[in-house]
Amino acid sequence: VNEPLPPDLVPAVIGVLVRRGADFASAEDAVQDALVEVLRVWPDDPPRDPKGWLVTVAWRKFLDAARADTSRRRRELRVEDEPVPGAVEEVDGTLQLYFLCAHPSLSPASSVALTLRAVGGLTTRQIARAYLVPEATMAQRISRAKRTVSGVRFDQSGDVATVVRVLYLVFNEGYSGDVDLAAEAIRLTRQLAAEISHEEVSGLLALMLLHHARRPARTGPDGRLVPLAEQDRSRWDTRLIAEGVDVLQAALARDRLGEFQAQAAIAALHADARTVEETDWVQIVEWYDELVRLTDSPVARLNRAVAVGEADGPRAGLAALEELDPDLPRHTAAAAYLHERDGDPVIAARLYAEAARSAPSLPERDHLTRQAARLNPQLRI
């Protein structure tokens, strides 16, 4: 099937409705209602023009709702009552919709939920399942978000940086339930990259592709975490890696470096190494220097310290680690790793066990516990 699936059409159709005079919240509701019709009608009677069909049905849903609403309370409508016949307008509001859903007045969680629904075309139930909360809770989060941006003018342009951050949050949520949020984030970032040419949008897309390419190798069959050094590199998706590198190179050529390009460059250097020994750690440290300069992020500093340990030896890595706040997440795990590389299994085993006790996720706790368990028998000999 060459036709795009309805979720890809959702933001464009909302955009059309808003341009015809619907307010954003009602337009978004109407399109969700129309998607229900899609499930009912399309399997038996697929339309020749899916977007036109969706616009017509969504517009009708909007008018029905508006009429019902007006009959309850008088309400100023900026629309004429008749559907606009003929072809769908060419003006596409997709980009404006990204901006609106990532509006600075929204909390990150609200932006994420609204983006997945209004731009991604996911149902509230799908979003709720992905974030493991009840549907009623997610519905509240979305309707609050819609209220918050109800006064924002739709044609205002927004800040690409906030949009990129929201998509990164979606990607980082990974996959749980029946929605693969990482794949969803990639789809939405591709769509955004098609709407706007921006080096950090490309940087983020490259970063996502380069991480996604390695996903099959990151977990074992039993769900256990496989560290980078031990991954079966033949399971990396070379097609995604090649695409990620291309996207990144085009972004870097614009000579406007940003944090997502820097992160993608680090991911590309890992992806480029056929064996872990071939990894260019010196270049990776240089990119971490850039990342620290751009973000001043403690997480970047921590990762940099581990990279220094690979480039200049574990002592140098430990020295870099010593300058950081020991309460940082994963600080103890990094120290354990570097002490083991430094030939000190006693301290390493103790630190792995300590890190396991404060691990923020189950796979990490299991991984760290296994590391401690691997070292402990050696210590008893």
Binding site: Y131, S361, R365
Partner: protein, 141 residues
């Protein structure tokens, strides 16, 4: 580089256990009916407000009864022990919340602890706040 948006926390209510109570409460049957009703209404309102803010995941109450159970060995029934009238720590129920920060979780627990007791004054109940462990690590390394 903030890595995720929301996190889940358990707010745990205890019949017994935890630090020494700040207010020495009479048992519920000693309260005036309207005091008890005000207390229960506070709890319902708290849950409704969490639902309205999109932060509620679950809330449940437990009866004080129950027992400890363990595997009894091959071909044998499970071994039970208790109930223990004097167990130091007895869980009464919970709220599971999905919020943006640890600070928000603590703030909400603080509000819940202000539930009214006899005379309508806050009971200052100790509540335990525990972070959930995530299912998956972040998708980036």
């Amino acid at each position: 580089m903030k890595e995720s948006t929301m996190a889940k926390y358990l707010i745990l209510k205890h019949y017994r256990g935890g630090p020494t109570p700040v207010v020495d409460l009479p048992s519920a049957d000693q309260w005036a009916p309207e005091e008890w009703e005000a207390h229960m209404q506070f709890m319902r309102d708290f849950g409704a407000r969490l639902e309205e803010t999109g932060e509620l995941v679950d809330s449940q109450a437990l009866t004080p009864g129950g027992t400890f159970v363990r595997y009894g060995g091959e071909g044998r029934p499970p071994v039970t022990d208790g109930p223990f009238a004097e167990t130091k720590d007895l869980i009464a129920g919970w709220y599971i919340i999905d919020v943006e920060s640890w600070d928000r979780a603590v703030q909400l627990a603080g509000e819940l602890s202000a539930a009214p007791g006899p005379g309508g004054t806050p009971i200052h109940e100790w509540l335990e706040v525990r972070p959930f462990m995530a299912d998956s690590p972040p998708a980036t390394e």
